[in-house]
């Protein structure tokens, strides 16, 4: 009786949260899936069922593939720089910098993450400015005029320039979080490894990496999903240009929903994004839960 009463009241207590999640998360998701099979716009309220046509259009759309390529590039670079380099940075900080100096560096690393993207965008627009920009000035100063470019204005360089900006902004953030994970590793393990003759590199590979695996996994999921959801950076820097070279899935959804007024197509792309991120999340969780290392 008591347990049953408890269970009933537990459900009732959880009900508002469940209702809210259903209404605010799962209902829109289901709705989005439904809309992706329809063709409609705000000016023609009748919704026409078109089956998989929106998906077929997407797969035949050159800009869609540019967007996918850009998102994949974003994810790959972010994974290598933010998580990879971030982990190395954190390990270096943990090992060679102590006390107040470490706290100082941690704050310095973390700082870019607290700056709003609008400000970062303006800052990097100055850095990348073709005539008076810091980057081209620096290249000229080093006698490398040949490498100076219109970083945001050339289709070949624009997306990489934006990706680079994101790395500047987020690597320190990831490193700061990984540092916390590293500091939770008991020092005896390093001492034991040292006694066994392992040098700093060996210790990093055999102690630090396995024991921060979970945090690394979480950060990888976050970084990769963020790379597939990127939007603000693009809007602030190029708005998808030049000639669609920096379109990503996020800007493509926005463009189709709010500019081209093609809601069905936008929903179809949104559904594709959902599937991509779900698959990434699921594989990473599956992989890391199998190889959990416990202390």
């Amino acid at each position: 009786m008591t347990t049953r009463r408890l269970r009933l009241s537990a459900i009732l207590w959880a009900a508002p949260a469940i209702l809210a999640i259903l209404a605010l998360l799962y209902y829109p998701l289901a709705q989005n899936l439904r809309l992706s099979f329809l063709q409609w716009s705000v000016f023609s309220p009748e919704q026409e069922f078109v089956g998989f046509e929106n998906y077929i259009t997407a797969f035949g759309d050159a800009v869609f593939w540019i967007a996918i390529r850009n998102n994949v590039a974003y994810a790959a670079v972010s994974l290598i720089i933010q998580v990879g380099l971030g982990l190395i940075l954190a390990a270096l900080l943990d090992r060679f910098v102590k006390g107040r100096l470490q706290a100082f560096f941690r704050s310095v690393y973390f700082l870019p993450a607290t700056i709003s993207i609008t400000v970062t965008g303006v800052l990097f627009s100055f850095i990348y400015h073709p005539e008076v920009g810091f980057l081209n000035e620096a290249l000229r100063g080093l006698g490398l005029e040949g490498l100076a470019r219109v970083w945001l204005g050339e289709p070949e360089t624009a997306i990489w320039a934006i990706i680079a900006m994101s790395q500047w902004q987020w690597t320190g953030y990831v490193a700061a979080l990984l540092l916390v994970a590293i500091q939770r590793i008991p020092s005896e393990l390093y001492e034991a490894a040292a006694l066994d003759g392992a040098g700093p590199v060996r210790q990093f590979l055999n102690v630090t990496i396995p024991l921060t695996r979970e945090m690394v996994a979480v950060m990888s999921i976050v970084t990769v999903s963020n790379a597939f959801l990127v939007f603000n950076e693009i809007v602030a820097m190029t708005n998808g240009g030049p000639n669609n070279a920096t379109q990503v899935l996020g800007t493509l959804i926005y463009q189709n929903a709010f500019v081209n007024d093609d809601m069905g197509y936008a929903s179809a792309i949104a559904t594709i994004v959902l599937f991509i991120t779900l698959i990434i999340g699921a594989t990473q969780l599956f992989y890391t839960s199998r190889k959990r290392v416990s202390l």
Binding site: R5, S9, L12, W13, A15, P16, L19, A20, A23, V42, F43, S44, S125, Y128, H129, P130, E131, R149, V150, W151, L152, G153, E154, P155, A158, T238, N239, G241, P242, N243, N244, Q255, F258, V259, N260, D261, D262
Partner: protein, 432 residues
């Protein structure tokens, strides 16, 4: 037993409170002001002088119409489009709202979201407004908006720099290119251009296409059902833009913002800039122009292109106008408001407070501090018979997007004119 009841009723209370909160948050828009009338207005000028002007007009309108209150919302350009779309989808449009002329505004009229104002405008009211401005907001002879202000696109130039380098105001396209070469040889950027936001490139394309393609052909092509885009003038327009980019524009224009380009004409770094008459106020010293520039600038209409088949007299530019919500309960009041807005007095006020030409005929009379150049532009605008509306709002949004991307491709030369035209054709064909 009592305890059980109490705990359960507590739970029910929590659930119901939350539900009420959620529900009340959803059904926000209550009806305001029984008895008194409330007029809702939405536009895209939230900045300083513009906002002050709108507030003044609203104040005066409320004063002359007791019992009426105006609720005004101002949202900046890009978010404005988004907001309008959301309000349209939820059938919640304000009584009076701004929309761009051309395909953009027409879609609101065709879908029944904008009232037919033809009979209202007919006669005296229409006579008080500039014909080209009224014409821009018509579809098949029906007026769907009331124009309030106007803007024309002119080549703004630094007359001191022209004199210094011995350059005359170009009267043909060839002379413009030669002028560019002269400045280029002197180590200057001839025309300052920032096409990061893509619309500056489209403004050039609007002009070039109107010069090369006859008006009726152009209009048929902007309608997806009749579009062919096979007039050779389109190819020439894209080629011309590429040539301008190479010989005149700032290098790497696609990577530079319009604001940054505009600053170069304002501070005397570059001799030319293609800008709208509604930015003439930046040449006041108070608004950041250097004294030398403030005293030495002028403008000319984009020069004629030899052998081009389009309408050489037409001008790239457009009026700004307001639509009346067809589904509004306050239609009469909305029309009253727009009549008030376009009175001689408010036309003059618009010029005075916003440095922007009004669509009201003769509005410059009695305004003391009009920039002489603006006054000249106003005279020129009054003589314009056809406006070439910006391509990204004149056409369907998808075709507009193809033009925006195509402008960047023509400027950096990453695609040939044929390739760009193919992508525009493809966008248009997908709407058939």
């Amino acid at each position: 037993m009592t305890k059980k009841v109490r705990s359960r009723s507590k739970t029910v209370l929590v659930v119901s409170t939350l539900l009420t909160l959620t529900l009340s948050a959803c059904g926000g828009s209550g009806d305001a002001g029984q008895g008194d009338q409330t007029l809702t207005v939405m536009h895209k000028w939230p900045e300083g002088d513009h906002a002050a002007f709108f507030e003044k007009v609203v104040d005066e309108f409320e004063k002359t119409n007791p019992g009426v209150s105006v609720e005004m919302q101002a949202i900046q350009d890009d978010p404005y489009k988004e907001r309008l779309r959301v309000l349209t989808a939820s059938d919640d449009l304000p009584d009076v709202y701004f929309a761009w002329p051309g395909g953009y505004g027409e879609q609101y009229f065709n879908a029944g979201f904008a009232a037919d104002l033809t009979s209202e405008l007919e006669g005296e009211w229409e006579g008080s407004l500039l014909p080209a401005a009224v014409e821009a907001y018509t579809v098949e002879g029906k007026n769907y908006a009331v124009p309030v202000s106007m803007s024309g696109k002119y080549m703004i130039y630094n007359s001191a720099m022209f004199e210094e380098h011995g350059v005359q105001v170009p009267t043909t396209y060839e002379e413009l290119l030669t002028a560019c070469d002269t400045f280029e040889a002197a180590g200057l950027t001839p025309i300052t251009m920032g096409n990061n936001a893509m619309w500056p490139g489209v403004h050039y394309l609007t002009t070039l296409i109107a010069k090369h393609v006859p008006q009726d052909v152009m209009r048929a092509d902007f309608e997806p059902a009749t579009a062919t885009f096979d007039h050779p003038g389109y190819i020439r327009a894209f080629e011309d833009l590429n040539e301008l980019a190479q010989r005149c524009f700032t290098a790497g224009a696609n990577g530079i913002s319009n604001d940054s380009a505009k600053a170069e004409i304002q501070t005397g770094v570059a001799p030319m800039y293609y800008g709208e008459s509604n930015i003439f106020s930046i040449f006041r010293e108070a608004n950041g122009a250097t004294p030398e520039v403030a005293a030495n600038w002028n403008f000319f209409a984009f020069p004629d292109i030899e052998g081009a088949e389009g309408d050489a007299e037409s001008l790239t530019g457009a009026p700004d106008g307001f639509l009346v919500n067809e589904k509004s309960d306050n239609k009469d009041l909305a029309i009253e408001f727009l009549k008030f807005f376009t009175s001689q007095e408010n036309g003059a006020r618009l010029l005075e407070m916003r440095d922007r030409p009004s669509a009201v005929v003769g509005s410059a009379e009695g305004v003391a501090d009009v920039l002489p150049q603006l006054d000249e532009a106003l005279t020129h605008l009054q003589g314009v018979e056809t406006f070439n509306i910006w391509l990204d709002t004149a056409t369907n949004p998808e075709v507009g997007a193809a033009f925006l991307a195509g402008g960047q491709a023509a400027i950096d030369g990453s695609q040939t004119a044929e390739q760009i035209l193919d992508s525009i054709r493809a966008a248009s064909d997908s709407l058939k």
